[in-house]
Amino acid sequence: MPLLLGTFTIGFILSILAIGALISFRIFNFADITSEGSLALGASAAAVLIAARSFDPFTVLLIASAAGAAAGAVTGVLHTKFKINALLAGILVMTALYSVNLHVMGKSNVALMNEETVFTFFNKCLSISETANKTVSVFGWPAGAKDLSGAALSFILALVCGTALFWFLRTELGSAMRATGDNPQMASALGVNTDLMVIAGLALSNALAALSGALLASYQGFADVQIGIGMLVWGLASVIIGETLVREKSIGLAITSAVMGSVFFRLLVAIALRFGMNPNDMKLITALFVLMALILPSLGRGGKFFKKKADPKEDAAATKPSEIV
């Protein structure tokens, strides 16, 4: 049970990164590598602020996100104003952030052993003691109260971020942002400041990455400058796994599926850990599990169980292929 709850917690924490990646990857159609740097930036900033004990843990999360937003805005400005290839702009900012993060922490690793983080704060609110290992029963399974509250808090935060993003993308500004990614020519012709939209979008995406990093550092009790390495790849994997499982791209479902993809992916990693006793095989087994999960439903689609239900809305929409020459 602690393993399952821990997996869910990490899955929800990283799902915030995944919905950030959704913005850059699915709205602006490129993988913004800045996220790896801003995840570490969020973790570093949060760790330093928590260790300094001058802010309450939620303010710390806000400041960390703001730092990530600033990093994303820099990438956006490099890309739009200086016409640097988006991928390269991301790589440059990510590289620079590595040094920035070392400066923020003053060293490469900051420990947060008995500091107040959002997780301990939440435990305090629920009057769960940090030292006593109270267990509660969940459907007959014993579960640590702390593990449970950690999973609950990360779920709530992922829910809040997902809902906020869902709401934003359906506002006038949010739809202008989506149009900018979908068809910049059209957006510009309809008076949308496309440069500003790209900058704001990347800022938002990286703010979410930084928030995810800050939570990760709070949860695991330390920040390390290398914490971001490889994270974007997993974030994108979550987005794509989610899409493959849900097969629908409306905003609400896209965000939900990214969160589910992240949780599912972490579950597969945990299962690989359970069964892959040779540590060298872990990544191979993880990859095979992901592959299996993606292929099985499409194999089963021939059968009745996974058969795609006809969607009346889509059927009505079905038109002949474009009549354009």
Binding site: S175, N183, A189, G191, A316, S322, I324, V325
Partner: protein, 270 residues
């Protein structure tokens, strides 16, 4: 009133591919008029339209729209006053967004976009009634992605979107050229209705002489980045496609002769 004053634009300046796309183009277009820009491929007619739209900033000259100097304004700023329909039916709409979302973006042209819901119930009702006027049955599919529509439907919606908030100037860039003749005619009919209804100042680019003759109250012929003929009023009304055709043939002949004569001149004098 749109005033173009001595516009110049050279692409790829200083390279072997240097092209003088606009040279000293001056033109005044009265409010409420419908001007057709006619020219062959590469004549600079689309460049002229793009200069007005702000796709690029001209090298020299001035563009004024209703007294406002917009020469140096970026595209999205001008878009507050200018509606556009592109040649490519895919260019004017966001394919992965719904019809309603596309319309909501168009309905905010020239206004401040805010953090308020784009698709409120009232907005949806507005979209419904105006899309219904197109008579294409699209009003019941407001929540479908535009990408699932045909080119003609998309172009009709683009036109509707460009004119949603009455623009001070409507730019049409051969917007029926990529459609099949039947759909093209339908979209053209729609264009006429919209323009007449709102008395829009229109600037349309075409290479179809038939369209030039049928539409609008003024024909401006462009060749090699220069205005070579300008017909309006009675002259325009008297024009037949045949006359325009002959003018073009004339140009073509000159084009045939010019390189040949220059060769002869070169051989003799250089």
């Amino acid at each position: 009133m749109l005033e173009l004053n001595g516009l110049n634009k050279t692409f790829n300046y200083g390279t072997p591919d240097e092209v003088k796309a606009l040279s000293e183009v001056s033109l005044g277009i009265a409010s409420g008029s419908f001007t057709v820009i006619l020219g062959t491929n590469g004549s600079g007619k689309s460049t002229l339209l793009n200069a007005v739209a702000g796709t690029f900033i001209v090298d020299s000259g001035a563009i004024r729209l209703n007294g406002r100097d917009i020469t140096a304004s970026p595209e999205h700023v001008r878009a507050a006053f200018i509606g556009r329909v592109f040649q490519n039916p895919f260019s004017g709409t966001a394919p992965n967004m719904t019809i309603a979302e596309n319309l909501s973006i168009a309905s905010m042209r020239g206004k401040n976009r805010r953090f308020s819901t784009a698709l409120s119930g009232a907005a949806m009702d507005g979209f419904y009634s105006r899309v219904k006027e197109l008579n294409m049955g699209l009003e019941d599919r407001l929540e479908n992605n535009i990408g699932s529509l045909s080119g003609g439907q998309r172009q009709a919606l683009t036109l509707l979107m460009a004119c949603w908030n009455r623009p001070e100037l409507l730019l049409l860039d051969e917007h029926t050229a990529a459609l099949d003749p039947k759909t093209g005619a339908k979209v053209l009919e729609l264009t006429k209705t919209v323009i007449e209804k709102d008395k829009l100042t229109t600037f349309m680019v075409t290479h179809s002489m038939q369209q030039a003759v049928n539409l609008g109250d003024r024909i401006v012929m462009v060749y090699k980045g220069k205005i070579i003929h300008d017909f309006s009023g009675a002259d325009k009304k008297a024009l037949k496609p045949k006359d325009l055709y002959e003018l073009f043939e004339d140009i073509k002949r000159r084009e045939m002769i010019d390189p040949a004569t220059s060769e002869i001149l070169k051989a003799n004098y250089v």
